[in-house]
């Protein structure tokens, strides 16, 4: 009995280490299997929760995973790759984990015979490697540019004289390299600029331009006198100096630039003044100027929204020499204060019908800062006057207010001009009178209706129904094609059936077919799948 008992106890003791070993293996195996079941993990919190035990069980967890890698042709490695990469990414935040995962990868690489799997593991190991694998080769200076650059770098903050010297170089690229170096390294100071300016007279024309552009790019205000002198002399350097002054700014620079308008350097000066820093003073120059200079100043006033000049420019619309230019400039300068004067000119004073669009544009610009209701109030004051001459010219402006009242007014007027104006309204209430006009045979009103419905009707079924109705009203092939294309954006059964009926039509068939093709494509992404799933899964 005693002997049997001893044998049993001895057997149990012998089994203990094995049982203990089994417990450890199962634990790691369980961890690995759990991760494999979950990857790819969808959020960071879960990712961290799952990766921590995995990396804590490294290196064994890693070698276990790596052993599951198969040759690429078997196409089964994705989950293992997710798991290993996840462990590597997570382990990077902790030295101990990183060391253990690294060890696991090294063991796995040693044991791996498949070359693609081996490379994958090596790529992962690299992310946790302790020494930098990649060294960048420093090339010896082999070209004149590289040699010059290396010299500048070696001189560092003392590179000033070398930069000045470079301005004498015949090679444009070498000069620019030196100047760009000065800018990049913060050496573009008044001091360096003064040294360069001393040599200016002796430089080639091309080198002069390089220097002048550089002065502007670095806004070296101390050299404005030089720049002004260069502008006065004219030629290619003057254009560079103008650009520079435009960047540096200041009243003196502004005067120099304004003086250049209307002349040989008009384009450069205009550009510089458009971006000139600070407020421009254009009133006096505009009054005093004549000819091309005045024309440029008008354009500039408009570009810079120089509202101070609005009244003066309005007066100029009456002078034959400048009327066109002044009209073109008006939208840029007018405010609500000029509204009445503009309407007066549009409807009474200016007899030239070619000027109508320009006056309408100016009126719209004058009103643009007001609310829609305020705009409507101003315009309707005139359009509601029965004796108002040429009030039809104001209808587009009324419609542009987009108010319900403007739609109601134009619907009430109901003539051709009013319907045409309604066609430009962005208020969906305009759809009703437009449809009525379309049913009475007005094709233009029909297409305005179509555009309005297409942009404003949010309900797909309703949009589809309305466009289908419009399709039946359309007479021309071009209009029908237009509507068919818009129906593609309203993917309903109704639209599909309508397009289907046109497939055999010689003129409409192709448009109908391509519109439906687009609809199918969109539906592929609208079936509830995300685009990636749709792309990966051909059954979607």
């Amino acid at each position: 009995m005693k002997r049997t008992l001893y044998i049993i106890i001895a057997a149990m003791l012998l089994c203990l280490p094995v049982m203990a070993q089994d417990a450890r293996n199962r634990a790691t195996e369980t961890i690995v299997q759990d991760v494999l079941a979950l990857v790819p993990i969808q959020n960071q919190a879960d990712f961290n929760n799952e990766m921590q035990p995995l990396v804590s069980a490294a290196p064994k967890s890693i070698t276990m995973l790596a052993a599951m890698l198969k040759p690429a042709a078997q196409r089964v490695n994705a989950k293992v790759e997710y798991a290993i990469h996840g462990a590597v990414a997570f382990a990077g935040t902790n030295e101990t984990w990183a060391a253990n995962v690294r060890e696991g990868l090294k063991q796995a690489i040693a044991a791996q015979s498949d070359k693609d799997a081996k490379q994958f593991l090596e790529n992962e190991l690299r992310l946790l490697s302790k020494t930098e694998d990649v060294t960048y080769v420093a090339h010896p200076a082999s070209t004149p540019y590289a040699q010059a650059y290396d010299k500048l770098v070696s001189l560092g903050s003392n590179a000033g004289p070398e930069i000045v010297k470079a301005m004498k170089n015949k090679d444009h690229a070498l000069r620019m390299q030196a100047l760009k170096f000065a800018t990049a390294k913060g050496l573009a100071t008044d001091e360096l600029a003064a040294s360069v300016a001393k040599k200016y007279k002796s430089l080639s024309e091309e080198a002069k331009c390089d220097v002048l552009y550089w002065l502007g790019d670095n806004k070296i205000a101390s050299q404005k006198p030089l720049l002004a002198t260069v502008v006065a002399k004219g030629g290619k350097p003057a254009k560079a100096a103008i650009e520079a002054l435009g960047k540096i700014g200041g009243d003196d620079a502004q005067k120099t630039l304004i003086d250049q308008l209307g002349g040989e350097n008009n384009a450069e000066a205009f550009r510089a003044l458009c971006s000139f820093p600070g407020k421009l003073n254009l009133l006096e120059p505009l009054k005093a100027a004549e000819g091309d200079k005045k024309l440029s100043l008008l354009k500039l006033a408009s570009a810079r929204r120089y509202t101070d000049a609005a009244d003066d420019i309005l007066k100029l619309t009456k002078e034959d020499t400048y009327s066109e230019a002044a009209l073109a400039a008006l939208p840029g300068v007018v405010t609500p204060e000029q509204t009445n004067a503009i309407i007066g000119a549009l409807t009474v004073l200016d007899k030239n019908p070619k000027h109508v669009p320009a006056w309408q544009k100016a009126c719209a610009a004058a009103l643009q800062t007001l609310s829609a209701d305020e705009q409507y109030k101003k315009i309707s004051f005139f359009t509601n006057q029965p004796m108002m001459p040429k009030r039809a010219l104001l209808y587009p402006l009324l419609a542009a207010t987009g108010t319900d009242a403007s739609v109601a007014d134009l619907e009430k007027i109901g003539d051709e001009a009013a319907i045409e104006a309604l066609g430009k309204s962005t208020n969906y209430k305009a759809a009703k009178p437009l449809l009525a006009a379309a049913k009475a045979g007005n094709e233009q009103a029909l297409m305005s209706y179509v555009n309005l419905v297409n942009s404003k009707e949010g309900n797909l079924d309703s949009r589809s129904a309305k466009l289908s109705e419009a399709f039946e009203l359309a007479k021309s092939v071009a209009d029908k094609k237009n509507i068919l294309s818009k129906l593609a954006g309203a993917p309903t059964r109704n639209a599909f059936l309508l397009a289907g009926k046109q497939l055999d039509d010689k003129e409409l068939g192709y448009t109908a077919a391509t519109a439906q093709g687009y609809r199918r494509c969109r539906r592929r992404l609208c079936c509830g799948c995300t685009p990636p799933k749709a792309l990966r899964d051909d059954s979607c």
């Binding site: 790819p40 042709a73 990414a89 994958f120 302790k130 650059y149 650009e243 990636p532």
Partner: protein, 432 residues
Amino acid sequence: MNRRSFITKGAASAALFSILPREVLGKMGTKNDIIAPSDQLTRGLIGVGGIGRSGSHFISDQNCRLVALCDVDQKHLDSALSAAKQKWGEDLKSYHDFRDLINDPNVDIVHIATPPHWHGLMSVIAANAGKDIFCEKPMTRTIGEGKRVEEAVKRNGRVFRLNTWFRFKDTFYGLGTEVKPLKKLVDSGLLGWPLKVRISGATGFAWKFFWVGKENLEVQQVPKELDYDLWLGPAPYKPYNIHRTHQTFRGYFDYDGGGLADMGQHYIDPVQYILGKDDEFPIKVEIDAPQQHPDAVGIWRNITYTYADGCQIILEGEGFESKGKVPYIEGPKGKVYKGFECTIPNVQQIINELPDPEERNTDFLECVRTRRQFALNESNGHHSATIVNIGVCALRLNRTLNFDPKTQTFINDDEANRLVNQPMRGEWAKLI
């Protein structure tokens, strides 16, 4: 013989130019200026399978003639050569290895239209070879490559242009406005400071989540016409699958970074400009995303960049946009929405009264001639590419990262710094 064939006849034409008056050749170039062949710039195009064949790039005119093409896919190359013959009646030089194109003495400008894993390397090699560079976005795939490009361009006195342009022209995607009025508004201070900019479907920007990679790719035979080894170049070797190449390369971290890297510079560079941060980097990037596969790019929900002064750029993934009316720019004193709708009264009038933003050099050919820096160059381009790239690093590691703008490395994160400079395969590492 017509004028065009006159010009393209090589040496015979060159001799004739010396005896025939310019007027005999007729008006050439833009603005009716006559441009002699010696004044013409020339361009070599690397990558003619995708963007390189687009209408805006597959062009040749008297201001800049396309003279050479390069592609590692023979079908693409043959197709492009044939198209060039049809369009311009010219037999362009063709190259298999981009290094030969770069070393062609007849090429002034190297146009890089390859997948992004090549952009940095090719730009450095081109700069070292004394060529000016026109590079498609993203400027580089890694932060380290961006630094190298910046150094090489400056060191060799080259002109570099990054091909995204919304900071100086065109309606800015679904925002419905150009960048200029936004810049003027921000510079005016009316919105206050710091500012938050939200780049999201809600504000008019699509992050193109269709550029995702596929897992468990089938191993396929490399097509005869493709030099896969050279296509990969510096990227790690992985078995061929068509989805890794030609357009869909965008879905793999080895070559690009999904929609984030593909569209990031288009969307983020103008924001960097608007905020006046061409010389700054964010100091933190936070990420909310599902775990990423090590190879195939997946989707993400939110990426937030924070600058030292508190300004933020917030990216919202497709399907994860903020609801309701969402401002594009938000400041303590005002907000701007799509269509330039603004909470500040009379904002349009105020903006109109402000000066235009400072003039910039937006004519690349003019910059090549005058050697001036282009408006979007190796420096500010590297800055906006880095914003994208630190986002990609955070995405790959699935955690918040802190960035040191001075050293352009991550703070206390060796693992993230392994993504700043990534190894290049074989001999390529020696070239950058």
